[in-house]
C-alpha cells in the first residue's frame, strides 16, 4: 500500500518537475542576459561578449535548455553566476534555516490558534468568540513585512529583549516565527472553531455527555480528532506557502534561508540557483502533499486516497 502510494507520488512528481524546469527556464531566459550585471564598469562590450561566450550564453536557446537538462540528469546542477560556484550546495546550505523557520512558525500558529479556536467554539456568540474572529481576520489582513518591522522596533530596539536580525540562537528565531505564525494563526483558529462547533453539535456528543463522561474527555477525544483532518489540510497548505514564501520576512530579519537567496538570485538572473531553488521547493511541496495524504490515512483509515 505504501509502495503503491510512493509509486503514484513518483508518477505525479516527474511530469510536474519537468514542467517546472521548462517554465522557469523559459522565464529566466526571457528575462535577459545576466552578464550585464556581472561585469564591472570598466569592461567593454568586447569583454562582455567574451564572458557571454565563456558561459555558453550565446548558444541557441533550445541547445542551452538541452544542455542544462542533460547536465541535470548527470548530477551537475549548474554554476551560480553570482557566487561562481556550484549551485546545489548553495541552495541546500540554506534549506535548514528555512525549514527551521517554517517549523517554528507552524508551532507559533498552532499554539495561538488551537486554544483560541477552542475557546471561541466553547463560548460561541460571546465576546470571546467575536474577539477571536476579529483578531483572526486582522492577522490575515496585516502585511507581514509591516508586522516584522514593528516587532523589531518594539522588541529589538526599544525593549532590547531580542536580537534584531541574523540567526544562531533560539532568540533569533522568535520574531521571524512570530511574524509568519501570526499571519495564518487566524485561519487556523477559525478552522479549529468551525470543526469543534460541528463536532460539538453531533448526536454522539450528547450521548457521551448523558453518559456522564467528563467534558474535557469528550471534547479532547472526539472534537479534536475530527478537527484534525481539516487542520492537517490547512497546515500542509501553509507549510507549502512558507517553504518558498517567507521571502520578505527573511530579508527583513537577515534570516539566511532559501527565500532570501531566491530574491537575490532573481535580482541577478542567476539561472542555476533559481532553477535549483524552484525544483527543491517543488519537490518538497509534492513531498508534503504526499505526507499529508499519509497522515489522513493514519487519522481516518476510511478515507479513500
Amino acid at each position: 500500500m505504501i509502495f503503491s502510494a510512493l509509486w503514484r507520488l513518483l508518477l505525479q512528481a516527474v511530469p510536474v518537475l519537468f514542467t517546472v524546469t521548462l517554465i522557469v527556464f523559459a522565464l529566466v531566459f526571457l528575462a535577459g542576459d545576466p552578464t550585464v550585471m556581472m561585469i564591472p564598469d570598466q569592461a567593454s562590450e568586447a569583454d562582455r561578449l567574451a564572458m557571454v561566450a565563456a558561459w555558453g550564453l550565446d548558444q541557441p536557446v533550445h541547445l542551452q535548455y538541452l544542455n542544462y537538462m542533460r547536465n541535470l540528469l548527470h548530477g551537475d546542477f549548474g554554476t551560480s553566476y553570482r557566487y561562481g560556484s556550484s549551485a546545489l550546495p548553495i541552495v541546500l546550505e540554506r534549506l535548514p534555516a528555512t525549514l527551521l523557520l517554517a517549523a517554528a512558525s507552524m508551532l507559533v500558529a498552532v499554539l495561538i490558534a488551537v486554544p483560541a479556536g477552542m475557546a471561541a467554539a466553547l463560548r460561541r456568540g460571546s465576546w470571546v468568540d467575536h474577539a477571536v474572529s476579529g483578531v483572526a481576520v486582522l492577522g490575515k489582513a496585516m502585511p507581514n513585512f509591516w508586522v516584522a518591522i514593528m516587532l523589531i522596533l518594539v522588541f529589538g530596539v526599544s525593549l532590547r529583549w531580542l536580537p534584531v536580525s541574523g540567526s544562531g540562537t533560539w532568540a533569533h528565531l522568535v520574531m521571524p516565527a512570530l511574524t509568519l505564525g501570526t499571519a495564518f494563526a487566524g485561519d487556523l483558529a477559525k478552522l479549529v472553531r468551525a470543526s469543534m462547533l460541528e463536532t460539538l453539535s453531533q448526536d454522539y456528543m450528547r450521548t457521551a455527555y448523558a453518559k456522564g463522561i467528563p467534558d474535557w474527555l469528550v471534547i479532547g477525544k472526539h472534537a479534536l480528532r475530527n478537527a484534525a483532518i481539516p487542520t492537517v489540510t490547512m497546515t500542509s497548505l501553509h507549510v507549502v506557502a512558507l517553504l518558498g514564501g517567507a521571502l520578505v520576512t527573511e530579508t527583513i530579519f537577515a534570516w539566511p534561508g532559501l527565500g532570501q537567496l531566491i530574491v537575490q538570485a532573481i535580482n541577478t538572473k542567476d539561472m542555476a540557483v533559481i532553477q535549483i531553488s524552484v525544483l527543491v521547493i517543488t519537490a518538497m511541496t509534492l513531498l508534503v502533499n504526499f505526507l499529508t495524504d499519509v497522515v489522513y490515512r493514519l487519522i481516518d483509515p476510511r478515507m479513500k486516497l
Partner: protein, 512 residues
C-alpha cells in the same frame, strides 16, 4: 625612465611615513570586554575568491584574509602607494618592473610566501576569462619571471602608467600556489582558503556571516582582535537597529535620517567620509531626441541646484560638483566645481530658444542601489520641470535598470553612480564609455583617447585626461552632480575613520 624613478622616490618617502603609521600608534592594551570585532555590511559576501566578485562589500572583508603587493592610501586627500607584501619596487625600463618581496611572510598554513605565488596569481587570472576581475587586472602583463624566492620581474606588452594598480584592489590579492595545487580544485581551495593576512578563515555561512580569527604569525605584528565577524544585513532598518542595540560595532551605509538617533544613542556615533563614487547623469545625444540639441543639454545642466541637493536631499553628506571623479582620484579635473553652475533663468531661456518647452524627457533612476539615489533623481526631475521640461521619472528595480543600460533602452537621461576606479583616465576607456553612452561622438575626445596610451609624461598625461573630462562635461554627455559621502555607524568602544576605498581592514579599527 627618470620620471618614474622620481615618482618612485617621492612615493617611497611618503609611503615610508604612511606605512609606519599603524605601527607608530601605541598598542592599546585590551580593556575588559569583547575581543571580537563585528562589522555589518549592506551586501552579502559573494565569494571567497578575491578575483571573482567585483563587489566592494566582499573585498572589504577579504582584505583581512588576503593581501596585496602594495596598498593604496589617501593621506591629505591624495593617493599614494605604500609597501605591503612588496617591500620595494622599481621600474627598470618602460615595460619592466621588479618587485622586492618581504621575506618574513608566511601563509596561514605556515609555508613561506614566495615570488612563485605572485607568478601563480597573475597567471591564474590571465588563464581564466570567466573570472570577473580578469577584465581589469593584469591585462597589460605579458610575462612574469621569478628571479629569486623574493624577487619577481614583470614585463608588460606596452608601457602601462597604471601598472601598480594591478596589484591592489579587487583581483589583486595574492593567492598561494602550493595550497591550490594541494587542494586539487579551485572549489576545494576556497572551501577553506588561506592567505597571508592578519586574520585567517574560520567559517563562512553564506548570507549570514564570515568569521575570521587572529593570525598570530602575521608579519605586521600580533593582530588586535581575536575574532572578526562580518555580517551581511542588507535591510537598512535592521542594520541600523543592530548598530543601536550594540549588536555590531561598525555598520556601513547609514542613511542620513538615522544619524540623529545614532548620535543621541549613548553607545554609538557616526563617521562620514569621502569615497570613490560620483553621482552623475548620462544623456542621449543622438539625432531624433530632445537632448540632441546642445542648448537643451546645457539647460538641463544649469537647472540642477546641486548645492540644494547636497545640503537638503543628502542632508549635507555629499559634495556638489560638476566633475566625474572625486579629487582624491589621480588626474581628477578639480576645476569642474559646482560654483555658478545653477542658473535656472538661463536654462529657461535656452529651452525657449531651442523650442523645447514642454518637451517630454524620460528620466531613469534606480531605487535603493545607492543611498538617496531615488530622492536625488526625484529632486532633479523637479528642477527640470521648473525650467519648463516635461520630465518624467522612471524608477526601475536594479536588475531591470541595468538591463536597460545594456540594451540601450533608457530614456533621454539616466542616473548612474560610478565608483571605485583607479585613475581618471578611466574616462578615456572607450570600450566602457560606449556601453554607457553608446551614441556620443566627439572627434577631439576620440583623438585624445588614441593619444593617451602612447603618452608617458606625467604632466602630459594629466593634460590629456583633464581635457577629456572637460570635453565630456562641456558637451553634457555626462553631467556630474554629487560626490556622495559614506556614512558608517561606529560603536564608541572602537575607533575607525573610514577609508576612501571603502575597505574595512580590522587592523585599522582600534579600540577606543
Amino acid at each position: 625612465m627618470p620620471t618614474s624613478r622620481r615618482i618612485f622616490l617621492k612615493n617611497a618617502a611618503a609611503s615610508a611615513s604612511v606605512a609606519a603609521l599603524p605601527f607608530a600608534l601605541p598598542q592599546i592594551a585590551f580593556a575588559a570586554g569583547s575581543t571580537t570585532l563585528t562589522i555589518a555590511q549592506s551586501n552579502d559576501i559573494l565569494s571567497l575568491d578575491p578575483a571573482n566578485h567585483e563587489n566592494n562589500s566582499t573585498q572589504s572583508a577579504l582584505v583581512n584574509l588576503y593581501e596585496y603587493l602594495v596598498n593604496k592610501e589617501f593621506p591629505n586627500g591624495k593617493m599614494v602607494f605604500t609597501p605591503a607584501l612588496a617591500q620595494s619596487w622599481k621600474q627598470e625600463d618602460p615595460r619592466t618592473w621588479v618587485f622586492e618581496l618581504r621575506s618574513d611572510v608566511r601563509w596561514h598554513d605556515g609555508k613561506p610566501f614566495t615570488a612563485d605565488d605572485v607568478k601563480f596569481t597573475v597567471e591564474r587570472m590571465k588563464g581564466n576569462p570567466k573570472l570577473l576581475s580578469a577584465v581589469e587586472k593584469f591585462r597589460s602583463v605579458e610575462k612574469v619571471e621569478v628571479l629569486g624566492p623574493h624577487r619577481v620581474r614583470l614585463v608588460t606588452s606596452k608601457p602601462d602608467p597604471l601598472f601598480l594598480h594591478n596589484f591592489v584592489g579587487n583581483g589583486g590579492s595574492i593567492l598561494p600556489q602550493h595550497a591550490f595545487q594541494a587542494a586539487g580544485s579551485e572549489e576545494a581551495f576556497f572551501a577553506k582558503p588561506i592567505g597571508t593576512g592578519p586574520y585567517r578563515f574560520v567559517e563562512w555561512k553564506k548570507a549570514d556571516r564570515l568569521v575570521l580569527a587572529r593570525n598570530p604569525q602575521w608579519w605586521g605584528g600580533a593582530p588586535h582582535w581575536e575574532r572578526v565577524v562580518i555580517r551581511a544585513i542588507p535591510e537598512t532598518a535592521t542594520r541600523v537597529a543592530e548598530a543601536l542595540s550594540g549588536g555590531v560595532d561598525l555598520a556601513v551605509n547609514i542613511p542620513p535620517e538615522d544619524i540623529g538617533r545614532l548620535k543621541s544613542n549613548a553607545d554609538t556615533g557616526i563617521v562620514a567620509f569621502n569615497i570613490a563614487r560620483n553621482f552623475g547623469l548620462h544623456l542621449r545625444t543622438e539625432p531624433g531626441v530632445v537632448t540632441h540639441d546642445a542648448r537643451v543639454r546645457e539647460a538641463i545642466d544649469l537647472a540642477i541646484n546641486r548645492q540644494e541637493l547636497a545640503d537638503v536631499v543628502a542632508d549635507g553628506y555629499a559634495t556638489a560638483t560638476r566633475g566625474l571623479f572625486p579629487p582624491e582620484i589621480p588626474n581628477a579635473n578639480t576645476r569642474l566645481t559646482a560654483t555658478n553652475s545653477f542658473n535656472p533663468d538661463k536654462a529657461r531661456q535656452l529651452i525657449q530658444a531651442a523650442g523645447a518647452k514642454g518637451a517630454k524627457i524620460r528620466f531613469g533612476s534606480p531605487s535603493g542601489r545607492y543611498i538617496k539615489d531615488r530622492e536625488v533623481s526625484e529632486a532633479i526631475v523637479g528642477y527640470l520641470q521648473d525650467v519648463g521640461l516635461n520630465a518624467q521619472l522612471e524608477v526601475q528595480e536594479w536588475s531591470i535598470y541595468n538591463a536597460r543600460v545594456g540594451s540601450d533602452s533608457h530614456g533621454e537621461i539616466y542616473f548612474w553612480g560610478m565608483g571605485s576606479y583607479t585613475d581618471a583616465s578611466f574616462i578615456l576607456n572607450m570600450g566602457s564609455l560606449k556601453r554607457f553612452n553608446p551614441h556620443w561622438k566627439n572627434a577631439e575626445f576620440e583623438r585624445l583617447a588614441a593619444e593617451l596610451p602612447a603618452t608617458t609624461g606625467e604632466k602630459e598625461r594629466q593634460a590629456i585626461i583633464w581635457r577629456a573630462q572637460e570635453i565630456i562635461t562641456q558637451d553634457r554627455a555626462r553631467i556630474g552632480v554629487l560626490y556622495p559621502k559614506a556614512i558608517y555607524s561606529v560603536n564608541k568602544r572602537v575607533q575607525f575613520a573610514g577609508r576612501f576605498d571603502e575597505m574595512i581592514p580590522a587592523e585599522q579599527v582600534r579600540r577606543a
